[in-house]
């Protein structure tokens, strides 16, 4: 029989473990951004699997440390030495960014949690500070780390975002560690999942 003492001990063991409640207190402010760093890392892996070498850079110099933005920001911002990655494929240069704002086709600006864009456009926006145009975007991902069921509103927001990012975008997605059964239905007929 499972006793009350078994229950108490098991709850304490889970919560008092080094990866328990104390660890949550430390990382709670960066959980969402850590998930973006994870998706950024998967992009690096995809680049390597295509035979290219991703190179980590910082806006102001070598990315030591490599800093992820804590909030949406401009690609030209030198508030910190924000990091990004660069790679070349089929004679073209591209960059992978996290938390950078783009100018949508409507002129409204939007943050892409993780994206791949043409280096030519990012170079230009760093030299003459500006938000990159939607047309410079090759791929974009919204990243949501949730402990429970995903909010349905995130799906609607994602569809609105991608709709304003023009037609150059080749691939995009809403990435999450969790889901919502109705969101699966919402995306499926449109081929957006």
């Amino acid at each position: 029989m499972a006793t009350l003492s078994d229950l108490e001990n098991a709850i304490d063991a889970l919560l008092d473990h080094p990866l328990g409640a104390n660890q949550f207190q430390l990382v709670r402010r960066v959980e969402e951004k850590a998930y973006e760093a994870y998706i950024f890392g998967l992009c690096l892996r995809a680049v390597r699997e295509l035979g290219a070498t991703p190179i980590l850079r910082g806006i102001s110099g070598p990315p030591v440390p490599f800093i992820f933005r804590g909030a949406p920001g401009q690609i030209h911002s030198r508030n910190r030495n924000y990091g990004y990655a660069e790679f070349a494929l089929n004679g073209q240069r591209f960059e992978i960014h996290a938390g950078v704002e783009f100018r949508g086709t409507s002129d409204m600006t939007h943050e892409l949690d993780v994206c791949i864009m043409r280096s030519e456009d990012s170079d230009s926006c760093r030299q003459q500070p500006d938000d990159p145009p939607a047309a410079s975007l090759i791929a974009g991902w919204e990243c949501k780390f949730y402990a429970g069921t995903l909010d349905k509103g995130l799906g609607r927001a994602y569809v609105g975002l991608i709709d304003d990012m023009g037609s150059n975008i080749r691939t995009c997605g809403l990435c999450s560690n969790t889901g919502h059964p109705q969101l699966r239905d919402y995306f499926q007929p449109r081929g957006q999942s």
Partner: protein
Amino acid sequence: MPQHEYTAEYALDLLMKKLTERSPELARQIQDVVDHGKDAEEQERPPGGKKSRRYRKTVPYSYGEALNAALDALGAHFIQQPLIINSACEEMREAAVGNGSSSRGFGFLDHFREQSAEAKGQQKSIEIELVTETQVRPLAPAAQETYPLKETSEAQVEEQKQHLAKLRALFDFRE
């Protein structure tokens, strides 16, 4: 003879109490997950032998289901999050590091030459900004401007997985 000395309701109450003692914020998050409820299919049987119809309805979790939802949420924080950070660190480790700030001005081949190839396979220092660009800074500087991502050992993650599995077994009230 019951298999437990406690009910699912008591187990949930105890879990929430212990969570609140250690982290009120985490307890609030888990309570939100539990209170979210679930979609269920209801059946309406009209009088007069007419054809019945089904419809969706949001209903609360049972205590047993709520316990499992709470454990899934704790698993996201205690197991998924460290694995996510480990993966990010591993993928960054395999990348090269550029010496310059940007490739602008370099020829296409120079772009490859100027990278510091030896950085491939080396641990990179990764930080997440805590004090953001637009934040109005207080008079006293923040104790921490960025948060360094640190890898967790597989052994620790495995231990925590076992703790979660043990608790899930204790929360199993199926006859």
